[in-house]
């Protein structure tokens, strides 16, 4: 089968999954839950000020939250879906269908890109409407665009890699806990410069910090760069760090995914199902 028809199948699959995400009530409620909490937190933070300035802490946090949503949607979301789909046999079904795995992965990339970008647009509209200081200039829009594209490239392949490596959904907490820690280290809810130097170092290793920084650069007045490391948005470093993670993820994901898919078989799905039923709830 040639590449274009595989892409077409993948997009069709993504489109259908996207429709399910919006029409299947339980998923819709779960999907809306986190954004609603985020908005609530942001609204509560509006009255507070960034230390040393009169700028609203809520307005500073809003672009950072967009950065988190990329890491969350692309990495955690994709990893979780991969694990669920492996549990219930969706992956095996894809494997039993000609070009099914390629279309499956393309579908996942489509869904996760689309939902993440929709989240971006909604948060952005909310920010522009209700958070003073959040604005979108032409230059800001260009920054937003490339940070968003690089952000998807840096997170989705990582999510696919993680989802393929974690053998059992029970280990998912092993991903969620560090993720929560990373939010704290990435200067999302408070400027990173207020952390100890070595913690700043750890935070700067991971893409979440750079996603937040890039989004802040795109949406906030340039004066606010003063609360960042070096008093600058450091956009060349944002570009470099996100590109590095993208290259890493794109190199790791295909072989890891292939290895995982190769090992899938009916008896493995059945064995997992049995284990799941024995699991105390």
């Amino acid at each position: 089968m040639n590449a274009t028809s595989v892409v077409r199948l993948g997009l069709a699959r993504g489109g259908l999954e996207l429709r399910h995400a919006f029409t299947y009530l339980p998923d819709l409620l779960v999907g809306l839950f986190i954004p609603l909490i985020q908005i609530l937190v942001l609204l509560l933070m509006r009255g507070h000020h960034v230390p040393g300035t009169t700028f609203s802490l809520g307005s500073l946090t809003l672009p950072s939250i967009i950065g988190v949503s990329f890491a969350f949607g692309g990495m955690i979301g994709v990893a979780a879906q991969l694990m669920t789909d492996r549990e219930d046999g969706t992956l095996l079904r894809a494997k039993a269908t000609p070009s099914g795995m390629s279309a499956y992965v393309l579908g996942k990339i489509t869904v996760s890109s689309a939902t993440t970008l929709m989240g971006l647009v909604i948060t952005l509209i909310l920010g522009l409407a209700a958070f003073p200081g959040v604005s979108l200039t032409a230059g800001g829009f260009a920054t937003l665009a490339w940070v968003a594209v690089l952000g998807l490239l840096a997170t989705i392949p990582l999510g696919i890699t993680l989802g393929s490596l974690i053998p059992n959904p029970r280990f998912f907490a092993l991903v969620m806990l560090p993720f929560g820690g990373l939010v704290a280290l990435s200067g999302i809810f408070y400027p990173i410069t207020h952390l100890a130097g070595w913690l700043q170092g750890i935070g700067q290793v991971f893409p979440m910090y750079w996603l937040g920084l890039g989004m802040r650069a795109a949406l906030l007045p340039s004066g606010l760069a003063s609360v960042e490391i070096d008093g600058s948005w450091r956009l060349p470093y944002v570009f470099l760090a996100l590109t590095l993670w993208a290259v890493l993820g794109l190199a790791a994901a295909p072989p890891v995914l292939r290895r995982m898919a190769r090992r899938e078989s009916g008896s493995r799905v059945a064995a997992r199902r049995e284990r799941a039923m024995l699991r105390p709830t």
Binding site: R93, S265, G266, V269
Partner: protein
């Protein structure tokens, strides 16, 4: 199309230090329905997964539709249908939506002889899910879900269909409906089918040929009738004399019955000579192996 759909020569499988298959040989001819029977742990699922290309074998030669399953491509994959145990996937999708989507993967592989995929409405009708066509898959009953699995397995009009314990967990009604579906498939489509089961009645009903797998070896290979005949030397004679019920196993039922009449004459009532059926053969063979 060649006459042989699948050929297995000296197939061996070892997990760690345990041998699961000790060199099995068989072939499946085109258009045949073959049942792979055997107790749990005999290696049925391992065998079928190797043929499906889902598992790498340890040794031996396997050819399925002219290719080695381990190295065959998407073109080959498009000619196979797979129905496995315990599917729960695509719960949010609607029945017709999923069949139409999965069918579209096969469109490229249509040939002059085989149009692919199956028309969605026609396929849904074939498996008796017309009333559920627009329902979400999560809301289907166990039997309906299984019929959907079969529909997905055949949506690309496979030349060879694998059914792994298709009716385990079915109630008798669902089982009967399923058997009728398989009959319709094999009659109308002349599909070649390999199914695994531990239900002997099912094998007798569906299969042209039965392979009995015990302890990683094929211990019998033949039509259900042939296999039953192998044991037919063994028969059971039951009768009643003066209200007393007797049962006697014998190798020579005719001679025994003649003697019986010679001895008791008219007093023999409720005479019954029961020859071995597939189940007796199966149990005898498995028992023999386990000794």
């Amino acid at each position: 199309m060649s006459d042989v759909a699948a050929e297995v020569c000296d197939l061996r499988m070892r997990y760690g230090t345990t041998d699961v298959l000790h060199g099995i040989d068989f072939e499946i001819r085109t258009g045949e329905v073959v049942a792979l029977l055997g107790p749990n742990g005999a290696g049925k699922t391992t065998t079928i997964e190797i043929l499906e290309g889902f598992r790498a074998r340890s040794a031996g030669r396997v050819t399925v539709l002219g290719a080695d399953p381990e190295h065959a491509g998407e073109q080959w994959r498009a000619r196979l249908g797979v129905v496995l145990q315990s599917w729960r996937d695509h719960a949010k999708w609607r029945v017709s939506e999923l069949l139409r989507h999965l069918g579209s993967y096969y469109a490229r592989y249509a040939t002059a002889e085989i149009s692919r995929p199956w028309d969605t409405a026609e396929l849904i009708d074939l498996v008796g899910l017309t009333a559920q066509a627009d329902r979400r898959i999560a809301s289907l009953s166990g039997g309906q879900r299984r019929r959907l699995d079969v529909a997905i397995g055949i949506v690309g009009r496979p030349e060879l269909l694998f059914l792994d314990e298709p009716t385990s967990g079915f109630d008798p009604m669902a089982r009967r409906e399923f058997h009728e579906l398989v009959h319709r498939l094999t009659d109308r489509e002349q599909a070649t089918v390999l199914l695994t089961t531990h239900d002997l009645a099912e094998a007798e009903k569906l299969a042209d040929r039965v392979l009995i797998l015990a302890g990683g070896r094929i211990v019998a290979d033949g039509s259900p009738d042939e296999l039953a005949l192998r044991m037919s030397a063994q028969a059971e004679v039951r009768w009643t004399v003066d209200g007393q019920r007797y049962v006697h196993p014998t190798d020579e039922a005719t001679a025994f019955t003649r003697k019986l009449f010679a001895q008791y004459g008219e007093a023999v009532e409720d005479l019954e000579v029961r020859r071995a059926n597939l189940e007796d053969t199966y149990l005898a063979l498995v028992e023999e192996y386990e000794k």
